[in-house]
């Protein structure tokens, strides 16, 4: 049953340390992970999954299912911001609606990684090339978001001046995408041999770094929770319901193109997760009219914990039902 899945997810060190981090804020402990450490850990995690993905990609080769998966990934990254924009527009102005839509169209690498370690724990296999899907899904939503802003604010606000080169720069060359894709390509280039020498660093430490990182994410998410008061009920419900809807669509597509169960879970998690790093930074720069605390807090304080704790086992439960 679903609850046993949730339980076995929660009784994982990374998820428990996430709770511990949240608890630290609630009881006002002064625990903190000092400033550049979370950044270092996130660079490490991107490097490690990128590199591993590349090595596995070159081992498995590129066949039809890889191509289909990539197309599905790009498709979802483009349509999610579109339809969420119109939902958000009901209550919010164009700027904020577009920024939040872009946030939910993009992905959260840590949610993906946590789902990966959940699969590993349950011995459900998944393909290395899913990391390529992750990489492909980071950027398109940024572009879609900006097109929406341009379309719907053209007349009223004529002095908006962002240069498309700068936008493309932000979308495709921000540090997350760059390091992930770079590591993936290096994994492809060095293959099995490079893997052998880097394994103690990039594989053995992985789980521990993830655990520590989620401890910090717990601190960060809990600190953002008080922002939710200003955010309102509409956005909070949005931040829980839309991931489920997106995961549902992802699930249908995954079934349609015949993904394995493991890959399907990762794909659903990509669809369901929201970016709280790359997209917010891009939005600050290109849509400064939007309120960062809206798009950051919903993604970080609601959607991220929801996915980590309930979403992942829930989506797997759905997959188990459908794939049987």
């Amino acid at each position: 049953m679903n609850f046993s899945l949730i339980l076995s997810n929660i009784l994982n060190p990374p998820v428990l340390f996430f709770f511990l981090g949240m608890l630290a804020i609630f009881v006002k402990s002064d625990l903190e992970i000092p400033a550049p450490v979370p950044k270092l850990f996130s660079l490490y995690l991107l490097f490690a999954i990128g590199f591993k993905g590349g090595v596995e990609l070159i081992k498995s080769g590129i066949d039809q299912s890889v191509v289909l998966t990539m197309l599905a990934a790009i498709l979802m990254a483009c349509i999610v911001p579109l339809y969420t924009f119109f939902i958000l527009r009901v209550r919010l102005d164009t700027y904020n609606a577009a920024a939040i839509a872009a946030t939910y169209g993009s992905i959260s690498a840590v949610t993906f990684i946590t789902a990966g370690s959940f699969l590993q724990q349950l011995d459900i296999p998944s393909h290395g090339y899913m990391v390529a899907a992750l990489a492909l899904m980071e950027s398109p939503a940024i572009i879609v978001g900006l097109i929406l802003v341009n379309l719907f604010t053209r007349e009223e606000d004529s002095d908006r001046e962002f240069s498309w080169p700068e936008v493309l720069q932000e979308a495709f060359l921000n540090s997350s995408v760059f390091l992930l894709v770079g590591s993936l390509l290096i994994g492809v280039l060095t293959g099995e041999h490079g893997w052998e020498v880097l394994k103690p660093f990039s594989q053995d430490l992985f789980y521990g770094v993830l655990t520590f990182f989620l401890l910090d994410m717990g601190l960060v998410a809990a600190r953002r929770i008080k922002d939710l008061e200003k955010t309102g009920v509409f956005l909070v419900s949005f931040a829980i319901l839309i991931p489920i809807v997106n995961a549902g669509i992802g699930l249908a597509i995954a079934k349609l193109i015949g993904m394995s169960q493991g890959d399907a879970l990762l794909f659903c998690v990509l669809c369901a997760s929201a970016s709280y790093i790359a997209v917010p930074a891009a939005m600050r720069l290109t849509v400064p009219e939007a309120n960062p605390s809206l798009y950051v807090s919903t993604a970080l304080a609601v959607t991220f914990p929801f996915n980590i704790i309930i979403g992942i086992p829930l989506y797997l439960y759905g997959i188990n039902l459908l794939w049987r």
Partner: protein, 104 residues
Amino acid sequence: MHPVKRIEIISDSIELGKIVESLEKAQVSSYTVIRNVGGKGIKGTMSNDLDMSRMENDYVLAICPPEQVKSVVESVRPILNRFGGICLISDAMEIRSMQCVASL
């Protein structure tokens, strides 16, 4: 000792590139930057908690002769208007240091 102006700019890290550019455009080519500064402004708390998302602040200090202030302000103001942040101008005396770098 001679009078100078201290220009202090505090803003989002993502603006740093634009601000430094605008300083250089106003012929201010010496400055000091303190990165990853926490703070709270209209946009809410920017503590280190979003460090990884580059959403902290930077603090820029530029010392320049009084006559340059106007062009700096004109150059920096549009950026702050668009992206937020704060710019201060105050008075100070500088101890003129005459450095003897052979090759400069």
